[in-house]
């Protein structure tokens, strides 16, 4: 397998006494769409900005496309191959759409004029309109155009679908999948779990500045299950303290287990406990995400 497009080792950022990012060890595989999930304030944007040299790490190191994020010269060089769409999608208010495109194209020798023109038409962006007069959705589309037309090796997006209407979201998701198909690695943060589930290959979850999960979506879909059982004698939570049990809830005779693996053993234990019915169903990414960021709920009533 080729080298990771993003690699961090012990990456940390401290603001005063508060850790925005804490000892983050991240490895993003090339040629895939990797989603970066986390609650507000989990450290997603700070991580992304450290990767792009906007914020200096307090500790740790990192590379993007094999270039060090700590070294100013290498940081400049890596940005020639990386496109970034920020959370706010703010551009230069004093420029028109046309001027923004002309300005950005000057920094990237591989700029695809044909693609920029096609996207301008597809996204229905008014070339002569000043950026300050664009809606947030239009600004997002323009930012996406500016990112895609430079033909980056890595596309980093911070909550790209925020502010987009459903049609805009569809166009965005299509564009990301198309970029990946052309060989661009995509790394994006989002709160929109359904969108993440639709297009992502890999899921990274960050919580309180730490990496809480790094797994492929296929792997998650295969291994995570919900086991619902009715135990006439009443569930005994301590019987289910075993590998793979991420959360256990009981109500009367009912027991619900969310498991990240070892499902066969959990089902067998339920049978041993006299379960009258047992249902095993897949678990969605939303639940996996919530479970990952609230891991202390092993036995809830």
């Amino acid at each position: 397998m080729s080298a990771a497009v993003i690699e961090t080792a012990g990456l940390s950022k401290l603001y005063g006494r508060s850790h925005a990012v804490r000892n983050l060890n991240l490895s993003v595989t090339p040629g895939r769409i990797t989603a970066f999930l986390g609650l507000n304030g989990a450290g997603k944007s700070t991580t992304i900005r450290m990767l792009l040299g906007m914020i200096r790490p307090t500790e740790g190191t990192g590379t993007v496309l094999g270039r060090s994020i700590d070294d100013p010269a290498q940081s400049v060089a890596l940005r020639a191959d990386v496109a970034y769409v920020s959370e706010d999608k703010r551009l230069y208010n004093y420029m028109t759409v046309e001027q923004m495109v002309r300005f950005t194209s000057g920094f990237f020798p591989g700029w695809r004029e044909d693609l920029a023109s096609a996207l301008l038409r597809r996204y229905e962006l008014p070339a002569k309109r000043k950026v300050r007069h664009l809606s947030k959705g239009m600004r997002t589309k323009l930012a996406l155009l500016l990112a895609i037309a430079r033909r980056p090796a890595l596309l980093i997006l911070d909550e790209p679908s925020e502010g987009l209407d459903p049609r805009g979201v569809e166009q965005l998701l299509e564009a990301l999948v198309a970029q990946c198909a052309e060989g661009t690695s995509v790394f994006f943060s989002s709160h929109q779990i359904e969108e993440v589930e639709r297009i992502s290959d890999q899921i990274c979850i960050i919580h309180q500045g730490r990496l809480a999960m790094d797994a492929s979506l296929d792997e998650l879909r295969t291994s995570w299950r919900r086991v619902d059982a009715v135990l006439p004698g009443g569930p005994q939570p301590h019987d289910f303290t075993m590998r793979g049990v991420e959360r256990l809830r009981t109500r009367g005779q009912q027991m619900s287990v969310v498991a990240s693996g070892n499902v066969d053993a959990i089902v067998a234990r339920a049978r041993e406990s006299g379960a009258s019915t047992i249902d095993v169903t897949p678990v969605g990414l939303r639940e996996i995400f919530l479970q990952t960021i609230e891991p202390d709920s092993i036995a809830e009533n």
Binding site: M54, R56, P72, R90, L91, Y92, F107
Partner: protein, 241 residues
Amino acid sequence: MLWYMLWYKVWLESRTRFLISLLGITALCVLRVYYGMRGAPAWSLSGVAYYYFVLRSGQQLLQLAWVVAVTLLMMGGLLQEKTNGSAPFTLALPVSRARLMSVRISAGLIEAALLIAVPWAAMYATAYFSAPALSVSQVLFYAVLLAGGGAVYAGMSLLISSLVEGTYTAPMISAGFVLVCGTAPRELAFMNPMDFMNGHDYMGSGNMLAGPIPWAHAAAYMTVAALLIVASVKVIERRDF
């Protein structure tokens, strides 16, 4: 291409402020000279009073307007972009912060120089066509005073705009600096760029500047300005965005 684009950005960003300042200041200076001389009694159109009207009052008006304009022109940059939200886009471009700053500073200094050269040229032309011609050496003297002392304001405004966030905070602090210089006691005149700019210490008889142009003093102020500019670049290079 890359340099061209950075200049293109700086020009689009500052052109409105610059052109308004240039036209406004030039118009004010021209009117001051034109009406200053027309309104003066006939006896005053020669000698001492002539220079009083044309040079001294023109320079004082230009000095005040120039300091305000340059303070505003030097605002902006990455910290202002941070406030506007466009800093992430700029910083994601394959350009170092030092290079971004160097283009902005160069453009700012060129605009500041034009704000000296064009109004003075306009005042000179107005005087030439409507009254006795000005002395070129006096004009040059005033221009050097304005550029030398003014460089400190440009440098200080740049540093403040690199340290302080907020749309209005940095201009307010810069205005405070101008006010402090404007009200500083006369004992500190030797280190006050405002006093240097108005040429008080070089004034000979008849309100004319006398003696050699103080190149060394102007160079000293420009050195201070250069240090302020270097400090601004260092601050921006180290800052988190």
